[in-house]
Symmetry: C2
């Protein structure tokens, strides 16, 4: 099984957002090689239909399995919510989404079992987080809200702007009133708005799923004896549009320069 | 030539934005049938590369020409800026973009020949408006600015919100200082922010290209004796993602209900 151990982990996302997951995986599993795919020609996924997201996800799965990955992380919350259950059945390679790790983490840190969930329109409309939370902890109360302006605010670097604070107030005041004590950041872009979200949701613990996913993946690989014994792994980046724009935004997420190759699916 | 007269006009856009053009064409050319295509599975185009926009535009041109259109309006400013010159050469059907009509209109109404241009990142980076303005009026001064937050603000109905005013101030204050007397709204979404843009650019004439395009198309069809003699034409809407979300946003643009069919290109 040595060869399987040394195969890369596949991570995909609609664009740059999944880099928060890639960064956490790199931190918790420094020896792993990673193949990252960002679907930048068709980004964003957050307001598109299940059927379309499923079609895109299948095309990306075909690309990643061809790269010989030993596991796939669906780093995009929207694709995890809408396509994960279908593609899990269609592939033999293990596929891990971001929903379950985020759910488990939020229930672990919540004391009053009142959990908030924010995400894209499609993620929230799917009810995926709510269903999983209730399956894990039937007594918990879940309060969800879609925040469709957050992704463009992040991608245009409005991290701490008064406009962002104003929009965050509009989106989050309803959940705040429900006295949640933990809030799942159900979109990979949202951790970059932690400061503003923290101001509006004072005293509420914010769950960054990217960290939860990385810990979850580490456990899963070790349990199956599939973790790499390498000291330092590498990451290869692939995108569906011109790499230039991806690499510029990737610097915000990774705090380092990257290069990427274009692949049309 | 009777059959050519009665053929539909094709209009395409990355999504719903081009509906401002479709509405103006309907107003100025009530007898025309229209085939509208919105590429909602891959929207937005505004921050994607020329190569990708050209690939998408070719796929849409193939669809529209198959529908037997007598003319195509590229209602998307980004596609007009990046793909128009290439696809004009590749098809026999006349293809009209939104740049030239907007440019002519702005020069007609400007007295000091200091013209502002706002648009998506790709539109502004292409320099298409600036080049066309200088070609038409070499003595004019052009001041451009990309406003990447405007599209998501429109699509999420932040028309008159303080956050929108704040972002408009950030984007437009530089152009205002340059004392332009006309401002080209170089993206089909921007007319829906006229109130806020007007507040920031007090006294400056705003050029809504959708109206300019419709007048331009009317003239072109009549000059070639290609205008329909019908009393009332119909519009057929096609989209690449689930029609539900398109139809919801289309109501904002058209102030009426529409239905659409999904086509995967």
């Amino acid at each position: 099984m040595r060869s399987l151990k040394n195969r890369p982990i596949g991570i995909f996302d609609s664009g740059v957002g999944g880099l928060t997951v890639a960064r956490s995986v790199r931190k918790y599993l420094p020896g792993e090689n990673i193949v990252y795919f960002g679907d930048t020609a068709r980004v964003p996924y957050g307001n598109k239909s299940r059927e379309t997201i499923l079609r895109f996800s299948r095309e990306i799965m075909a690309f990643l399995t061809e790269k010989g990955v030993k596991m796939v992380i669906v780093a995009c919350n929207t694709a995890s919510s809408l396509a994960l259950s279908a593609i899990k059945k269609e592939y033999t390679v293990p596929v891990i989404g971001v929903i379950e790790p985020g759910v488990k983490e939020s229930l672990k840190i919540s004391t009053n079992k009142r959990v908030g969930v924010i995400g894209t329109r499609s993620t929230v409309a799917s009810g995926a987080y709510k269903k999983k939370l209730l399956a894990e902890e039937p007594s918990c109360r879940v309060f969800s809200r879609d925040c469709p302006m957050f992704v463009p605010l992040v991608e245009n670097r409005f991290f701490n702007d008064p406009a962002t604070l104003r929009i965050a107030e509009l989106y989050l005041s309803g959940i705040r009133k429900r006295k949640v004590d933990s809030l799942i950041l159900g979109c990979t872009h949202y951790p970059l708005l932690k400061t503003v979200i923290g101001k509006v949701m004072k005293g509420v613990k914010l769950v960054d799923s990217s960290v939860a996913v990385a810990k979850y993946v580490k456990k899963a690989l070790e349990a199956e004896d599939m973790a790499s014994s390498r000291k330092r792994g590498k990451t290869a980046y692939f995108v569906s549009d011109d790499p230039g724009s991806f690499c510029r935004v990737a610097r915000i997420f990774l705090k380092q320069k990257v290069s990427a190759r274009k692949i049309i699916l």
